[in-house]
Symmetry: C2
Subunit: 125 residues, 2 copies
DNA sequence: CTAAACAGTGGAGTGCGGTCCAAGGTCAAG
DNA sequence: CTTGACCTTGGACCGCACTCCACTGTTTAG
């Protein structure tokens, strides 16, 4: 499919997709006329990218993962390893969040940690 | 305490603290000589700021929360509400992570979602 | 008295993750 | 053969969250 359709399907702009290609997250074939051509798998991949991003991974990290993946001798194995890695990261993140939650629960009902701000700057913050 | 000590205590740079003041996250008194003076409560507040940031809140949002807080009729109640809100955010994040984890677990062993990149650009990704 | 270690200011620069734009090429429909 | 929708490129620009810098003022120790 061409870039416009892919953009529409995943809810990104064409500019964003070209940018992703620049930073190595997305690849494309080229038609004879120079147009980018994407395989259907680009859709789940971009959904995955979005998810990873939401989890706090930078585009650079996502690109690295993708590269590791495409360079691995055994792709299926590499992919499984990558996923296993991410699952570990997720577990860590979840533990952090749980700790945070506990801290907040404990603090709710405590003194205000912010000093009173009588005439605090009301810029477009 | 002065800015250098606060910076050391919370692990931020003095520049960052001045920047936080600019965007309305932090306030300070001034000594006669112009030096900023911070109360001890600034430490837990900044820890809280960091936490909120880790949860994906922008500094602008955090500043807004801080303002709401300092303007609330009942500060203790407002603070509890704020914490309760963040706990809900945490719960949502955790659920997302759990979902992603399940997805990754399911996908591990599946086809690679990234197209092969024969000579992909090796910029400093 | 001087030097070092702090503090202040304004402004420029950085890295990330895009977005916007101008100038132009391609292609299908009428 | 023109119109309009789509595509190409490069480069400028944006908001966020800092970070660095130059230059100046203050305080403290020797």
């Amino acid at each position: 499919m061409r870039i416009g359709e892919l953009a529409a399907r995943v809810g990104l702009t064409r500019d964003a997709l070209r940018f992703y290609e620049q930073v190595g997250i997305l690849t494309s074939e080229r038609r004879a006329n120079g147009y980018r051509e994407y395989p259907p798998e680009a859709v789940p991949w971009l959904e995955y990218v979005r998810t990873a991003q939401a989890l706090g991974f930078s585009l650079a990290e996502i690109a690295d993962h993708g590269e590791e993946l495409s360079e691995a001798p055994d792709q299926a194995e590499a992919l499984s390893a990558l996923f296993a890695d991410k699952i570990r990261v997720i577990d860590t993140r979840m533990a952090e969040l749980a700790a945070l939650r506990a801290e907040l629960t404990a603090r709710a009902g405590t003194e205000c940690p912010l000093r009173k701000t009588p005439g605090s700057a009301r810029r477009r913050v």
